[in-house]
Subunit: 148 residues, 2 copies
DNA sequence: ATATAAAAAGACCTAAATATCTTTTAATAT
DNA sequence: ATATTAAAAGATATTTAGGTCTTTTTATAT
């Protein structure tokens, strides 16, 4: 559904939101190690988010990534939009061009419920909501690792 | 979500179910042209379905593809299983290995609703159900084309 | 039996996603 | 100002999905 790039981005940004702050920036190496993600690849993805001001960074000693007040409020859909685009949320489940409510493919009525539902989740939830979940222990407590 | 291979397969099999029968088999060329799909690529995919007895075929003059009684009753999930595998329906939305109800990722509770919902749709609907939809005109009437 | 038609099979090609490695730029502390 | 540190940027490699082309096999009609 979401590309690897996209879920890497989401996990990384939540990790940064959870563990970092403006005066405790998180290095790409730490993120990569803790989340068990390919560092250089991840680096490209975060670069893109920084460019779009979804994520903040500074270079040099004690540099790294962090998220500011505004970034925490950004909805997940925005990150998806930047990395994967929004085509999934408009596309027919059977890949037909002209599929729509008035001209539906044989799967349309069932599929659209799912597609719209997902859209709503991603359009509603902000980065901070995920960070909060992590902090509440509803989700992985220590980190967003793949392993433990 | 579903790979191109997989939606090509679904559309092709519905086309065959709709337009063909044991004594009016449908050639790969017709399928490719009508559905605007790459013929040779599609050919591979259908081969696989034939091998799994989801679809029937015969070679030679007046040969082609058709589906028998039993095949029409096969659930969509089976086709998905053969072509894409079922990992999507077990995988965490954020790509974490150990995500589960008791150990959820920060997106789990919301995501699982739709993952399960989709699973149910595909596990419930059979090929014939889609063919029926096409015949009822609820879906594209003439064919499953990408264009008209 | 033979020609023919159509799927099966095999080899190969292309593009996109994913991943790695190297060099450059820019903050910071000394 | 200089050295150091860490992100940005660039170049390149690998893998997977998607697609094409050619040859082989097999069923049918003559």
């Amino acid at each position: 559904m979401l590309s690897k790039s996209c879920v890497y981005a989401l996990r990384a940004i939540v990790y940064v939101g959870h563990n970092g702050s403006e005066n405790h920036k998180i290095g790409i190496k730490e993120i990569g190690e803790e989340l068990d993600l390919p560092v250089h690849f991840l680096s490209k993805i975060l670069q893109l988010l920084v460019k779009h001001n979804i994520l903040q960074s500074t270079k040099g000693p004690h540099g790294g990534f962090y998220i500011n007040e505004a970034s925490g409020k950004i909805k997940l859909i925005r990150i998806i939009e930047i990395i994967d685009g929004l085509s999934f949320f408009h596309k027919c489940g059977l890949g037909m061009h002209e599929c729509s409510d008035s001209h539906p493919c044989p799967l349309h009525d069932d599929f659209i419920v799912f597609r719209e539902g997902l859209n709503k989740i991603f359009s509603t939830k902000a980065i901070n909501d995920l960070v909060k979940k992590v902090e509440d222990g509803n989700a992985f407590v220590r980190n967003l690792n793949t392993k433990n």
